[in-house]
């Protein structure tokens, strides 16, 4: 689901990577494009009643945010496989902080600069950046995975490299409380300063990544996260 669904090309690589995941399982992947602005806690059960997986892709800005959070909540509480990418991961943190950790007004600094619980904050090296063009954290960066995590099992490696495009990150001041309530911050930058991947302990398949794994998926070499996501979706009976 997203807010740019008027043009499917806005999520081209995500849609292709989902298809690649389907190739690996010899399954046809049907994508139902959901407009983030139509989703609330009230409409979510109807909208997602037949879905076997929910993917929240990257994005910027305020519009559609609360809809994405409602979708994440639905996936988390109904054991629906969820893959959160970039902003999708950040909003998974926001949802978890609000509804599980009890930090009612938790938000991203990008979306609510005055929040008392800024679980997503501006990266320190972005503070004095004025130009918007070409100044995001861009390109391939390494990440170390918790060897016991599902993500590590999927990648088959403890060190991975993924491409990035973001300006905000998980606020390290909230790591402890997130972990305490059962969110595994399973992927960190090698210097341990940046949370790169998250997953939920008490959920069959709930993974978020700060990176854009869809950019490295190839039809003949499906990306492990998308492969795993489709496998989980196939076994999610609805």
């Amino acid at each position: 689901m997203g807010k740019y669904i008027a043009l499917h090309d806005a999520y081209l690589s995500v849609a292709e990577a989902l298809k690649h995941g389907g190739i690996a399982s010899k399954a046809t992947v049907n994508i139902d494009w959901v407009d983030a602005e139509t989703v609330t806690d009230e409409t979510a059960p109807e909208i997602f009643k037949n879905q076997q997986g929910i993917l929240i892709p990257g994005g910027f800005g305020q519009r559609g945010i609360e809809g994405k959070i409602a979708a994440i909540k639905y996936a988390r509480t109904h054991n629906i496989p969820l893959l959160g990418i970039c902003l999708g991961m950040q909003l998974s943190i926001v949802e978890f902080a609000r509804n599980v950790c009890g930090l009612k007004d938790a938000n991203s600094i990008e979306l609510d600069p005055s929040t008392k619980h800024p679980v997503i904050a501006l990266m320190p090296d972005q503070e004095n950046v004025d130009n918007i063009g070409g100044t995001l954290r861009l390109g391939s960066y390494p990440c170390e995975l918790d060897p016991a995590s599902l993500s590590c099992k999927l990648y088959g490696s403890t060190t991975i490299h993924e491409r990035h495009r973001h300006r905000y990150e998980v606020n390290n001041d909230f790591r402890e409380v997130l972990q305490q309530y059962g969110m595994n911050l399973c992927g960190l930058s090698p210097d341990k300063n940046i949370v790169e991947m998250i997953e939920l302990k008490d959920h069959p398949w709930f993974i978020g990544t700060q990176a854009h794994p869809e950019l490295k998926s190839r039809p003949n070499r499906p990306h492990p996260l998308f492969k795993g996501f489709i496998e989980a979706a196939i076994s999610c009976k609805r």
Binding site: G134, R165, L215, N220
Partner: protein, 282 residues
């Protein structure tokens, strides 16, 4: 080793799937053991698509080295299974930025800075090169936009000069056009293709291969007609018929012998391709 170049331009309308045609050719050449790289030249003035509205321009594709690029680069990477770089997507904005920096540094020695030769030279200098390589490489270079646009003119002029300056068998020009189908009369129309090739010829470019996007099979008569009016052999007029599934495109273009006629133009061998993996995947 010198690099051989395949330029891909588009005519009649945008959104013809030029990128898919180029990427399909990349896959077919790679399947024959050639080392392939791809570039896209976009005639807009933004430095990159990073700040452009996704609903207008589609997704921003990020390369390993951190360039924010056109979504066609995603097709390229997925089809040729190679990682591309910053130099794989050049925009008019980047070209002008570089020329203007040189002007401020005084590199032009007081001369008047002009589209020809300064902008065209800068474009030519961005065409892929790899002087250290001891293996022949084929660079596939797609020019965004449509022939006839004001914005694409410097790129076409640069290609014209480049072809003039290099041996005949080191470049190949593929023009991708549309053959519309008129339902009422049940006819495929070649006139827009003729007009678009005329436009290319007017600026001194003659395509080596014409790839026709079409919803219906092109008859031999239609291919002959296009060949005659556009000054190419009939065997170099290929159809690119709509496919149900994106990844079928290279297989459809293989049936049209796209790689064979390209390699023929470049005077290179055309071994049997190994497309086993790809066919199985499709």
């Amino acid at each position: 080793m010198p690099v051989k170049y395949v330029f891909v331009t588009g005519g009649v309308v945008s959104g013809l799937g030029k990128g898919i045609t180029a990427a399909s050719l990349g896959r077919l050449l790679k399947a024959r053991g050639y080392k392939v790289t791809m570039q896209k030249f976009d005639p807009y003035i933004n430095i990159d698509p990073g700040t452009m509205n996704p609903v207008q321009h589609g997704e921003v594709f990020v390369t390993d080295d951190g360039a924010e690029t056109d979504l066609d680069l995603g097709h390229y990477e997925r089809f040729i299974d190679e990682s591309l770089s910053k130099n794989s997507n050049i925009t008019t904005g980047k070209i002008y930025q570089s020329v203007l920096q040189k002007e401020r540094r005084g590199d032009f020695g007081g001369g008047t800075v002009q589209v020809i030769p300064h902008i065209t030279n800068e474009i030519k200098s961005r065409f892929y090169r790899n002087d250290d390589s001891n293996q022949l490489e084929i660079a596939l270079i797609e020019v965004g936009g449509t022939v006839g646009d004001i914005e694409s003119q410097p790129y076409l002029e640069a290609i014209r000069q480049f072809r003039q300056e290099h041996p005949k068998d080191s470049t190949c020009l593929i023009h991708v056009t549309l053959i519309p189908y008129l339902k009422a009369s049940g006819e495929l129309k070649t006139k827009p293709t003729q007009a678009s090739v005329k436009e290319l010829q007017r600026i001194g470019l003659t395509p080596d291969i014409i790839v026709c996007r079409t919803e219906h099979e092109l008859t031999p008569e239609i291919k002959d007609k296009i060949a005659l009016f556009c000054n190419v052999p009939e065997t170099h007029v290929l159809q690119n018929i709509d496919v149900d599934y994106l990844y079928e495109a290279p297989l459809a273009m293989e049936r049209e012998h796209l790689a064979m006629v390209t390699l023929d133009t470049l005077r290179l061998d055309c071994p049997k391709p190994d497309l086993t993996d790809w066919k199985e995947m499709v």
